[in-house]
Amino acid sequence: MSSKPEGEQLGAIFVSPAAIATIASHALLTSYGVVGMASKNAFNELAATLTRDPHHGISVQFVQGQIVIDLYVIIQHGTRISSVAASVINAVRFQVEKAVGVPVRQVNVYVQGLRVDEDL
């Protein structure tokens, strides 16, 4: 059991990556155009299905003491991807900064796939 909790010191605030990932994942649920989360590779994808990981598709890192968030998303086919991605970046940045009180250095959106609806 380490004496220092996992995370990074941001001035006087101590925040774990998991906490930030939770905020990001909530923001994604209401992000228009995002219909699911994906993973960097197929193995992780299988593992995620089996474990129902709430942070599936979200990676939070600290680079030089600053927050960098990577989001691996699936977007609805037929929407304008650049606009959806930009809105996601804005929403995740806004929600994380509001909750944590520290600026987010970067939010990256990786569009792993498009969901095409079967004819409805």
Partner: protein, 562 residues
């Protein structure tokens, strides 16, 4: 830009059948009415995020749809709807724009295959529109445009049962839309707290209202003169990834040019307008759908020079062509390697709150840059580690922030065998000036003194957002306003970043100085910064104006004047 020439034939005379051309006219009416009211919708914005102006976003989306169909003679309603969706898709901007594009998509799908529409088919179109819109999100939020779209579809079905006249049905739809919008604060707490209705819902209500007015033969009151027409504000975010159409820049050389009139005319042609200059030379920058319009306009008034036309590529098209995942964010520049430090020479340790500023310090010869800034202050330990890590025993420290001064001072006696001097810089520009005075092979005390003097010779400006209401030095500031500080003292407040920068420069006495440097932060795009730098260069023609990417988190701009 929707102009009277674009208007369908015989405006004011409602279509007799809803075929492709009828649908085109109705779509135009929705656009025209939104164009009159989009600023009201913008004013309902509750989220302080970039590109959050719903009215503008929906307007751009509708204009893009209109551009797709303006020249079309298509008489098949289903095919016309598909064209409208394609146009909306390509120009969809912001959340509300994307949702609007999905509403058109669902409408098109609902009426697919029908050449003319009766009331039943129109109702089905509305029902399919809302179903499609709800589908593209995992947890739809009620109290938004989605709610309004759902309620009007319900109302349309009920109204059609009572009376199949399109005007009757649409009038009930519009009334229900307004009621639904009024109720949105009851459904969404953030609206209730801000005391406003939902912007997207309001935008949709305006579009539907325009359509109804058109069918009733009521005027939509679009202005006749191109220059007097409603133009987008030039403070529109010119995000390159979301740009639409062409980015046009040129110099216009002529005689007795009326810069103000040219600016008004260019503003009416597109977005992100910048017009600066004098009566013999004007620089123009604008985003338009048709580059021929501003170029033709300018060619009539003088000689065109340095013409640049860039096609802002459509992200969707690129994705489909490249067929793979894509990183969508500004790529960070590669790191700059710090210089090697010879033992016995003087090394500088400094603090920078941004990646761009770190690069700048390294490129100027700093041996070690500690990341830090307004809310992420380095600790004494950070300084001690940095000092200890350098292979020399002579160190100068530049904290660049008054909150970090103490930590830096505390580090001085803590590293054995090192002689450390803290230069009491409280701003980035002071740090940069001091670093310029560093002579690594000089005598430590003498060098420290000249660095101290250099740091005092520069005027620093910082532009950021006020986090609370305050009155200081006779300047009254509201939370969320943009403020300008001169040498750490609040001097200027305003609503717009660029005008605060310009006022602050005046206040700093930039007039009597020679070199103005701007460091733009994480909240500013390169394009915006370039445009502001051009404006400043035009205001101070004899001065040297430098623009660098600072990447700092809290300050839109850090300025120095010397």
């Amino acid at each position: 830009m929707t102009t009277p020439q674009d208007a369908p034939h015989a405006p004011g005379e409602p279509p007799r059948a809803c075929d492709g051309q009828g649908l085109k006219q109705i779509a135009w009416a929705g656009l025209a009415w939104l164009e009159k009211h989009y600023e009201q919708v913008d004013a309902l914005n509750v989220f302080p995020v970039p590109d959050g102006d719903t009215g503008t976003n929906m307007l751009l989306t509708m204009r893009s749809a209109w551009k797709e169909i303006v020249g079309s003679e298509e008489t098949h309603a289903g095919r016309m709807a598909k064209l409208i969706y394609n146009g909306a898709l390509m120009g969809a901007r912001g959340n509300s724009g994307v949702i609007l594009s999905q509403l058109w998509r669902g409408f098109a799908q609902g009426i697919e295959g029908r050449a003319t529409l009766d009331i039943r088919e129109l109702v089905r179109g509305l029902e399919e529109a809302t179903r499609m819109a709800y589908r593209a999100v995992q947890e739809p939020v009620e109290g938004t445009i989605l709610t309004v779209s759902r309620e009007i579809a319900e109302e349309a079905a009920l109204a059609a049962d009572a009376n199949p006249d399109i005007r009757y049905v649409l009038s009930r739809v519009v009334e229900r839309a307004h009621q639904s919008v009024e109720r949105t604060p009851q459904l969404l707490a953030v609206l209730r707290e801000a005391g406003v209705v939902d912007a997207g819902g309001k935008g949709l209500a305006f579009i539907l209202e325009g359509m109804l007015r058109y069918l009733n033969g009521e005027a939509l009151d679009v202005a006749v003169e191109a220059a007097a027409e409603v133009a987008l504000r030039s403070t529109l975010e010119p995000e390159d990834e979301l740009g639409y159409g062409y980015d046009v820049q040129f110099l216009l050389k002529g005689q007795q040019l009326d810069v103000n009139q040219i600016r008004r005319d260019i503003e009416a042609m597109g977005a992100s307008t910048l017009v600066v200059g004098d009566e013999s030379l004007v620089k123009v920058h604008v985003h338009v759908h048709n580059p021929g319009i501003p170029l033709g306009y300018a060619a009539e008034r003088g000689i065109l020079l340095d013409v640049v036309v860039e096609n802002m590529q459509e992200q969707y098209q690129e994705f489909i062509q490249e067929g793979g995942p894509r990183l969508i964010e500004e790529q960070p520049e590669p790191p700059v390697a710090p210089p090697t430090v010879e033992p016995g020479t003087i090394a500088a340790v400094t603090v920078a709150p941004g990646e761009g500023l770190s690069r700048i310090f390294y490129s100027m010869g700093a041996a070690h840059v500690i990341p830090g800034g307004q809310t992420m202050n380095p600790s004494t330990e950070n300084f001690v580690e940095a000092i200890a890590s350098l292979p020399t025993d002579k160190i100068v420290v530049l904290p660049n922030n008054k909150n970090i001064l103490l930590s830096a001072d505390a580090a001085v006696g803590l590293v054995n065998g090192k002689d450390v001097r803290v230069i009491p810089t409280t701003t980035i520009p002071q740090g940069i000036s001091a670093l310029l005075a560093l002579d690594p092979s000089g005598d430590l005390d003498a060098v420290a003194e000249s660095m101290r003097e250099a740091s005092r010779a520069v005027q620093t400006g910082e532009v950021t957002t006020a986090t609370r209401n305050v009155t200081l030095n006779g300047v009254k500031v509201r939370q969320g306003q943009i403020i300008g500080l001169h040498n750490d003292t609040l001097r200027v407040a305003g609503n717009e970043v660029n005008s605060v920068v310009i006022d602050l420069l005046k206040e700093m006495g930039a007039d009597g100085l020679e070199l103005i440097s701007l460091y733009y932060g994480a909240g500013v795009s390169r394009r915006e910064a370039e445009m502001l730098a051009e404006q400043i260069a035009a205001l101070y023609p004899g001065h040297e104006v430098e623009l660098r990417h600072g990447g700092q988190a809290h300050y839109f701009y850090i300025l120095s004047a010397e």
